[in-house]
């Protein structure tokens, strides 16, 4: 399953973050983070709590607006060098998000809609495809994540694992080039977490570019092409799992992994 590494140049770079800075009030969260992700890669971002990994992920689709930095995703570039976030910037962020899907730790499914309508809502109002096409595609996606049977049910009547898979199907319905996952399995027990991880592995096999913020070291080690270790608002080091997990170069990475493995 591991088809490449961060150092391979076979596939083009689809996501490029350069020198991303973000602070909340006086607290510096990101202090110049840069990352290149190649098409089809699965990148796991690990690190201690508060290291800025979730904020970094949220900066990639501008749910969090970086103070400074340049982000290119699927050909859309937003360059921020301070100053206010303007309407034109919001317009660019909107364009960028057409290529980027996101999955949240707490699922964030829309509780007032059925699972199928959750998947259909964004294509319906954003893409304006014909109803039958959308419906068939949505059902196909739900079948793919193993939820065809519960398409007519409401999210809160589903298990956590089912909800997270529904959230993945919902994001996929917009045909993204890149998928972002913010601790997708942290709210799940290991057994149902596996269902979710299996979906992500399947997507990886199909060539989807995925960036996962996770605490699940086993998944990061087995499924990732690249593991990124963040601490104190910096990327400390990044590399293929066999390098990162066996002989990390940085002392902090060694200590973090030592505590986990």
């Amino acid at each position: 399953m591991q088809t490449g590494s961060a150092f391979s140049v076979k596939e083009p770079v689809v996501l490029h973050a350069q020198n991303v800075h973000k602070q909340f009030g006086e607290t510096i969260i990101l202090n110049g983070v840069s990352l290149e992700v190649h098409k089809g890669d699965l990148v796991s971002v690990i690190g201690p709590s508060g290291c800025g990994k979730s904020t970094f992920l949220r900066c990639l689709n501008f749910l969090e607006i970086p103070d400074r930095g340049r982000i290119t995703a699927a050909g859309v570039t937003i360059d921020r060098q301070g100053g206010p976030w303007r309407r034109a910037d919001e317009h660019m962020a909107h364009r960028l998000r057409t290529h980027v899907g996101m999955v949240f730790q707490s699922f964030n499914l829309f509780p007032h809609l059925t699972v199928l309508d959750n998947v259909l809502l964004a294509p319906r109002i954003v893409k304006r495809q014909t109803d039958t096409v959308k419906r068939d595609q949505a059902m196909a996606l739900l079948e793919k994540v193993g939820l065809g049977r519960v398409a007519g049910r409401y999210p809160l009547s589903l298990s956590g694992g089912q909800q997270q898979r529904a959230a993945i199907a919902r994001a996929l319905a917009m045909n993204p080039d890149i998928m972002l996952y913010d601790e997708p399995t942290s709210a799940l027990d290991p057994l149902v977490a596996e269902e979710v991880l299996n979906v992500m592995r399947q997507l990886d096999a199909e060539g989807m570019t995925q960036i996962v913020v996770t605490h699940d070291m086993r998944f990061a080690r087995v499924a990732s092409d690249t593991i990124v270790y963040m601490d104190g608002g910096h990327i400390i080091e990044a590399g293929p799992p066999d390098v990162m997990c066996v002989r990390p170069t940085d002392e902090r990475t060694r200590r973090f992994l030592g505590a986990l493995l």
Binding site: L63, H94, V100, F104, S106, L109, H112, I125, Y154, S157
Partner: protein
């Protein structure tokens, strides 16, 4: 925050698309309530003003009374039929000032105080104050005997001023004639000091009461005009009145109502007596005493139904329009307050605090009588709907704000991540969820609004409550009529309550349903 303001503009674009449509609909309703051509209009409060201008007891669709007859005669002399406008007693003079009509003929007493604010014609009727007491109570003949007792009268009248000069008498003042007399009958007061015609029609017709003692003081009624505006019209009216005194037509009208007084004889120099019987007086007293049997009462109640239906229709229409406005504006205010740029957001909170912090009645009166000072003259329907709608919008805004805030922030983020715009996220994800949360509170507010719509009766709209006041005070029947009007409000409110329950049930299901 800056990020929010850019999103806000996109949202505002959408809102601006449909909000004007609502306002246009409201304006259309208002247009129908406003007169276009301007014949000479006169106003009175015909809700219970016996024997001045009132609804005939035997035929509620007809107006009658000595002033009503006098105006018809006046119209004939002026060769210009005069158009009647109903207004609440308290609004009669303000309505004159804002040009809703040119004259008020409603037993307005010519006093120096009144003459400061309005112009008067020559007096068309002169009478005196009379005392009314209970037959079974202690007997009083003069004001001096009433020291230490409670005496009732109408607000802002000559009688009130007379009583103010007797500080040893405890005074009660009322808005409605019927209430003055009911309180005497029920023993809440010991006597009434009131204009002769009112004492005659309300006091002497009541078997429990009697008119006693000598006439007190002198009262003159005149036609009221807005100060300094209608000099020519006033001259016309004075000429017509003089003619009516000359040719005896005024005498005939007053005699018909058994109201020709020694004071009138003295003023006009007309010492004759007319042979014809006072038909208006007789018709009134007969009608008053005919309906005492249960059967007669029943049929009287049946005859009320068309009036109640008409009042209910207006109540419903005003309430529904106000609700639409309250929901639309309330939602806009809540969204601006939460997601709008900061200066606008603080403006909305100022709006909410000002509107919630001042009485609705004042707001309605201000819109109707106050705004014309700035050249904004709203029709009564539009003013009523705006008053209620703008007021309730403030309350709705706070409800919606609480509702919107209780929707998890992750919902907005998920929607934005799915490439929806800020507006789409609000429209399809956040607002529908907030709506479910605020539904029960909204039901509550709307039932309140339905009842608060009674306040528009102060700006000339004869809705359900105004109909109640009119019917009950005409027949001295607050009980039966009260039950009917209360029933009418319930009937109006119930479908809405049921509808809200159904909606609540239907909307609540997704969160709990399991298969």
């Amino acid at each position: 925050m800056t990020q929010h303001s850019t999103r806000f503009f996109a949202f505002a674009r959408h809102v601006s698309r449909w909000l004007p449509a609502c306002l246009i609909v409201l304006a259309l309703f208002a247009g129908s309530a406003r007169g276009e051509s301007h014949p000479v209009r006169w106003a009175a409060d015909a809700s219970a003003d016996v024997p001045f201008t009132f609804h005939d007891l035997k035929d509620q669709t007809k107006l009658t009374g000595f002033e009503y007859d006098l105006v018809q005669e006046l119209g004939r002399h002026m060769k210009n039929p005069l158009q009647f406008v109903q207004n609440d007693w308290d609004g009669l003079i303000p309505g004159l000032e804002r040009g809703l009509y040119e004259m008020v003929i409603c037993g307005i007493e010519i006093t120096p105080e009144h003459a400061e604010g309005i112009d008067f014609s020559d007096p068309y009727y002169v009478t005196s104050e009379r005392l009314v007491v209970r037959r079974d109570g202690s007997h009083f003949d003069t004001l001096d005997q009433l020291k230490g007792h409670i005496v009732g009268t109408l607000k802002a009248t000559q009688a009130e001023r007379i009583l103010q000069n007797h500080p040893e008498i405890e005074m009660r003042t009322y808005d409605e004639e019927t209430n003055v007399f009911l309180d005497l009958v029920n023993g809440r007061t010991d006597a009434i000091l009131i204009d002769g015609p009112i004492a005659q029609y309300y006091g002497s017709t009541n078997p429990a009461l009697e008119v006693v003692g000598a006439p007190i003081g002198r009262v003159a009624y005149g036609v009221a005009f807005a100060k300094g505006k209608h000099g020519a019209l006033r001259e016309q009216v004075n000429t017509a009145l003089a003619a009516m005194m000359q040719d005896g037509s005024l005498h005939k009208i007053l005699a018909n109502w058994k109201l020709w007084s020694p004071e009138m004889a003295a003023m006009t120099g007309d010492r004759t007596t007319l042979a014809a019987e006072p038909a208006g007086w007789i018709r009134y007293t007969e009608a008053l005493h005919s309906a005492t049997s249960w059967k007669a009462r029943f049929w009287r109640y049946v005859s009320f139904i068309p009036f109640l239906a008409k009042g209910a229709a207006l109540t419903l229409l005003v309430s529904l329009c106000a609700m639409v406005l309250a929901v639309a504006l309330g939602l806009a205010l809540a969204l601006i307050r939460l997601y709008g740029p900061r200066p606008l957001a603080s403006l909305t909170s100022v709006y909410v605090e000002v509107v919630r912090g001042t009485p609705l009645l004042i707001q309605i009166l201000f819109l109707f009588y106050g705004l014309p000072e700035f050249g904004i003259s709203l029709g009564p329907f539009l003013a009523g709907v705006l008053g209620l709608g703008l007021n309730y919008a403030a309350y709705e805004a706070e409800n919606y704000r609480a509702g919107l805030q209780s929707v998890a922030p992750g919902q907005m983020e998920a929607a934005l991540a799915l490439n929806m715009t800020h507006f789409q996220a609000l429209r399809f994800v956040v607002v529908p969820q907030a709506f479910r949360l605020v539904m029960p509170v909204m039901t509550n507010d709307f039932i309140s609004l339905l009842k608060d719509s009674s306040l528009v009766s102060v700006i000339t709209l004869t809705e359900l409550t105004q109909t109640y006041i009119r019917l009950s005070s005409t027949y001295f029947d607050y009980f039966g009529t009260g039950l009917m009007v209360g029933g009418a409000y319930l009937i109006l409110g119930l479908p809405f309550v049921r509808l809200a329950r159904m909606a609540e049930k239907k909307l609540a299901q997704p969160h709990t349903r399991r298969e």
